[in-house]
């Protein structure tokens, strides 16, 4: 029955969606499929407490996480039209960041906890927002015209892991400022309903993406590609399957990998689309990753040493720099992925190869 065969082939194509590099690459690295393979292996070898004392962890952090933080800055300064479209971000933000960081050193015992709480709260939100952005991007790219209601629903589903993290550990984020006695939520009677709510949110974070997928399927929007579903579920997995600390470690590594891949794809396509481009894909990939790695090393490894040289303590030198670099990354990231009319992001999403 050739007709039904071509129908199922077309369905399979619609479900896979339009990937950027290759379905295997996109699903594994950008969709987070690789983390779904690594998580059970990590559990099998180490139980719930994983990666905490792994000697290779600093290298993982440098190659994936530090490079990903720097990648947003590298992309900001290499993105066509960014300096004209985002003058404050490209020209004033670096000096402003250095100024805020340096002033915060003078009152480190007061500014440190605030900066730490801001970035630790913002991180899971940033991961969730990235999952949402990627899900929407792949949907658009695959011809699925998400309605406003679906997009709203997708956004709320994507941020469930973030809300869960806030409730799970009351002392590591901005809610901590608002509590006169933060210990109260960690002991009965508050701890029990909170734990129940946390469990419920964990369940919803894994189930609701499937409900949304089916809802989009039944609507006129078209088929949502499975990668959009996967990217939202894997973000939830990182924080639900692991303990709080390990969730952050795994989330950080796979989010970094995901970010580096998508940022590299956008960079390569933007550079190759330039009229004066003389290089191939490999050159642009290596250039982008090399620049991100070097800048990442500079930001996280060299910069704190400069403040120690100025006489500040090792703790504030390392921790304040980490917090400020994180916050800078979140701010830059909030602007460079916008799909505003005329933005080069739109061209990249629309291109096939």
């Amino acid at each position: 029955m050739p007709e039904s065969s071509s129908q199922s082939e077309s369905l399979a194509k619609r479900l896979v969606g339009r990937t950027f590099v290759h379905p295997l690459f996109d699903y594994m690295l950008i969709g987070g499929g690789l983390s779904l393979l690594v998580i059970p292996i990590a559990f099998a070898y180490s139980g719930e407490q994983t990666l905490v004392s792994l000697e290779l962890l600093p290298w993982f952090i440098l190659l994936s996480n530090s490079a990903h933080f720097a990648a947003s800055t590298v992309r900001l300064y290499t993105k066509p039209g960014a300096r004209e479209a985002l003058p404050m971000l490209t020209m004033a933000l670096p000096l402003l960041t250095i100024a805020i960081l340096s002033v915060s050193f003078l009152f480190a015992d007061r500014t440190g906890p605030v900066l730490q709480a801001i970035y630790l709260s913002w991180s899971p939100f940033h991961y969730a927002a990235q999952a949402y952005g990627l899900a929407v991007m792949y949907s658009y790219r695959s011809g699925c015209q998400l309605e406003s209601a679906h997009k709203r629903m997708l956004w709320w589903i994507a941020i469930i892991p973030f809300i869960r993290v806030l409730l799970q550990s009351a002392d590591k984020h901005f809610l901590w400022w608002l509590m006169p006695n933060p210990t109260a939520v960690t002991v009965p009677p508050w701890s029990l309903p909170l734990q129940a709510l946390v469990m419920l949110l964990g369940l919803l974070a894994l189930l609701l993406p499937v409900v949304l997928f089916l809802s989009v399927w039944r609507s006129k929007a078209g088929t949502m590609p499975l990668i959009s579903l996967l990217v939202v579920i894997t973000n939830g997995m990182w924080f639900i399957v692991f303990t709080h600390y390990d969730g952050f470690v795994w989330g950080t590594i796979f989010h970094g990998l995901q970010y580096l891949c998508i940022a590299t794809i956008f960079h390569v396509r933007e550079q190759r689309a330039r009229a004066d481009n003389r290089h191939g894909t490999r050159y642009h990939v290596l250039w982008f990753y090399g620049a991100s790695l070097l800048l990442g090393y500079g930001l996280f490894n060299c910069w704190p040493q400069a403040y120690i040289l100025l006489g500040f303590g090792p703790a504030e030198s390392v921790l304040l720099v980490i917090a400020v670099v994180n916050i800078h990354h979140f701010i830059v990231d909030a602007y460079i992925w916008k799909l505003k009319p005329g933005d080069s992001n739109r061209q990249v999403i629309a291109t096939t190869t």
Binding site: P58, W59, L62, P80, G81, E84, A85, P87, M88, T90, M91, A92, L93, P94, L95, L96, T97, I98, D109, G112, P113, Q116, L120, Y140, R141, G143, C144, S169, D171, K172, P182, T183, T186, V187, S191, G298, F300, N301, C302, W303, P304, Q305, A306, I308, L309, L310, G313, P314, A315, E316, S317, V318, L319, I322, P341, G342, R346, Q347, I349, A350
Partner: protein, 202 residues
């Protein structure tokens, strides 16, 4: 016809930003100077380049060893206050605060440890004592009650519970707590003295 995001021709809205280039140059220069300074500092401490692991504990531990616990209290305090979810940092502050007889820092560290390990009976017991020493019997009572529940076979939290109740004016309940402490540890001088005071007060 392909569906999806409508593609517009690249359009850049130029926004004039006077002095932008100067700010960028200044920011970039300061950052580059910082990088060089970071490498210099790293060479001073015996490395060619800053190490791959981004952590402060090794340097802080070396500082504490070189200068002693009491004198490095400010550095250790800042570390614990910023890295408030790091048990090692908070424990280091507790140790240094005790060595320097600083009750404020000790109380802060114990509260932070109680947040990190809500069901640690030792921390709750020490927290009850620290609160008693700070003249906060109501808070000490809450912590001692929790400690008694966590470590019911230890006399110490019962003693703190008794002391808190006595300071709050509940002498009979205090005497009962001290009696429980003596049941567990009949030789406890603190429990015996507390019982006598409670009986005298009631």
């Amino acid at each position: 016809m392909r569906r999806g995001l409508p593609v517009d021709p690249p359009k850049v809205t130029a926004a004039p930003f006077s002095g932008g280039a100067i700010l960028l140059w200044l920011g970039g220069s300061l950052f580059l100077i910082s990088m060089v300074a970071g490498v210099v500092r790293s060479m001073q401490s015996g490395h060619w380049l800053p190490p791959v692991a981004v952590e402060y504990t090794t340097e802080l531990d070396a500082l504490v060893q070189a200068r002693g616990s009491a004198t490095t209290l400010p550095e250790v305090r800042i570390a614990a206050k910023i890295d408030f979810d790091n048990e090692q940092a908070v424990n280091r502050l507790l140790e240094n605060a005790r060595a320097a007889n600083n009750s404020d820092d000790e109380l802060w560290a114990l509260l932070a440890l109680a947040r990190l390990n809500p069901e640690d009976g030792r921390v709750r017991t020490d927290l009850a004592l620290a609160l008693l020493e700070q003249g906060r019997p109501a808070d000490a009572y809450a912590q001692a009650r929790f400690a008694v529940w966590l470590v019911p076979d230890s006399s110490e939290p019962f003693c703190h519970l008794g002391a808190a109740l006595r300071q709050l004016g509940y002498h009979q309940q205090a005497a009962a707590a001290y009696r429980r402490a003596l049941d567990i540890e009949p030789t406890s001088a603190t429990a015996r003295a507390g019982l006598q005071s409670s009986l005298a007060g009631s």
